[in-house]
Amino acid sequence: MRYYRTQGLLFLVPILVIVGIFYGMIVWDFVVALTGWQGLQATWKFVGLYHFSRLFGLQRFWVNLGNNLRWLLFFIAPTVFVGFLLAYLLNNLGRGEKILWQIFLFPMSLSFIITGVLWAWMYDPSSGLINSLLRFIGVNTSRLGWIALPQTAIYCMILAAFWQYLGFSLVIYLGAIKGIPYEMVEAAKMDGASHLTVAFRVIFPNVGHATLICTTMLAITTVKVFDLVWVMTRGGPGVSTEVLPYLMYRLTFDSRDIGMGAATSIVILGFSAVMVIPYSLWALKKWVRV
């Protein structure tokens, strides 16, 4: 066995290189964010927090950050909550369960671009699906601009993502609920517990790991909604639907301001790391049997 271990090390070389490159790139981000740049040319001069102070001076940055927080709040809570309820109901029904969860899950295999093209049409104020249906039942839609209005645009976008990701939390919860000992639920029912009690007092506390998975994964997804923003509104109207990765892209590739772009990346990194690192530590215990 020992003799083979050198071969085992060889098998690890490619992934070691890849992981090394990834962490190297993160270090690179820091270097770029802390040094001077002339266009795409590095001057290799340490400038401290200069790029950060410029970034924090931008009003647009704070709008973007606020939007990221809106995504966290209004995307995660409903997706987790409705996903759990739906999983509970489906598990109770027993019949037709499989076809039903597939209906909810399959939008997840689509890309944000496809979802974005589809929902941008649905939200179109003059000839979109939603307003045409509303007009059909006699609603005056002249003031329903959906993604064309700065006040509502981001929430409309969140709804599209909710449509796409509900199946994800549903499936995670469904798997977790099936793992709960049947006797426990049965005992609670024998004691006359209502469905509400069973769902929230008996089952919900016992599927904490599913809640953790859903919350973290959906939180990471809110960083990845760049695509949806790009294809549905290009950040508009104004900058009302922009999120930080979008700002990062614009600063880097349109304004050619690499320093500020890298500073934005660092902010996103901080934002993601507080979710990813604790989650990874937790998940590690499941993978490595200790």
């Binding site: 690890l12 490619p14 992934i15 209906i103 798997g175 294809v231 993978w287």
Partner: protein, 273 residues
């Protein structure tokens, strides 16, 4: 009696919600088959009078280069990433390396961190290597970004293989690589399929790198083309929907035919092996 009433109500609720969830897809499919005049009537829930397949021809004309590029890039990068990932998954789960846990941790973190944060270094690396706007460059980057996830998923499945299998094989003189190739991979085929599907769909659906690392249509993947189609065919909903449908055929087919692997891959990838 009360219980049956509850079951009936919840069934009704779930079915209604499922119908609501399908309406966008139904509207997408029917609209993609309508003529421009029909679309202009805005009766989106009425089925098309006659199937207008020319919409697809039109959309396909725009998307075909992108589809070709996406297939070349996605298939190659998926293959390489799953190969590298499964080798690493094997090494990490079978050899009891002291540092395995630490390396696993680094891999998990990299898997979940959004790759958006390293967009700038990626661009620089490809520029230095003169690989911007090439298949090789995109394949390289997608491989780097996907191999950690492939390691996690395959590793999770390899852990379920009884260690006696490997001990017996090694005692019979089977070397690690032949064991990996001839025993471990076939035994863990479901895990391999799961990893392949998830990596494949992730790369195929990717958009940001597709626009940041390419110039012009030559190697650009399909998602940027679809986004452009939306920009150029303004309010031509039937063409837009035909394009969206063409682009979604591959992931939806994967989901329909290999759905259970999709689920088990998801579960494995999130630490619920």
């Amino acid at each position: 009696m009360k219980e049956r009433y509850f079951l009936f109500l919840s069934a009704l609720l779930v079915v209604v919600l499922a119908v609501v969830w399908m309406i966008p897809i139904y509207a997408l499919v029917t609209t993609s088959l309508k003529t421009q005049q029909e679309v202009a009537l805005q009766k989106y829930l009425v089925p098309p009078q006659q199937f207008q397949f020319t919409n697809f021809a039109k959309a396909f004309q725009v998307l075909k280069i992108g589809l070709r590029n996406s297939l070349v890039i996605t298939l190659t990068a998926t293959f390489v990433a799953v190969f590298i990932g499964s080798l690493a998954g094997y090494a990490l789960t079978s050899f009891n390396f002291k540092f395995a846990t630490l390396l696993f941790f680094f891999i998990v973190v990299v898997t979940f961190l959004p790759y958006h944060i390293v967009l700038i270094p990626i661009t620089h690396i490809l520029k230095t290597l003169s690989l911007l706007n090439t298949y090789a460059g995109l394949i390289l980057i997608y491989t780097i970004l996907s191999a950690p996830m492939a390691t996690l998923i395959t590793g999770t499945f390899f852990m379920k293989v009884p260690p006696e299998l490997e001990e017996a094989a090694l005692l019979d003189g089977c070397k690690p690589f032949p064991f990996y190739l001839r025993v471990l991979l076939p035994v863990s085929l479901p895990g391999l399929i799961s990893a392949t599907i998830l990596v494949f769909i992730q790369i195929y659906n990717e958009f940001l790198l597709g626009i940041a690392l390419t110039r012009g249509p030559d190697v650009k993947p399909v998602m940027p083309f679809l986004a452009e189609l939306k920009g150029t065919q303004i309010a031509q909903w039937h063409i837009q929907m035909a394009g969206a449908l063409i682009t979604s055929i591959i992931p939806v087919a994967v989901f329909i035919f290999l759905g259970r692997y999709f689920i088990s891959g998801l579960m494995a990838g999130y630490g619920k092996g």
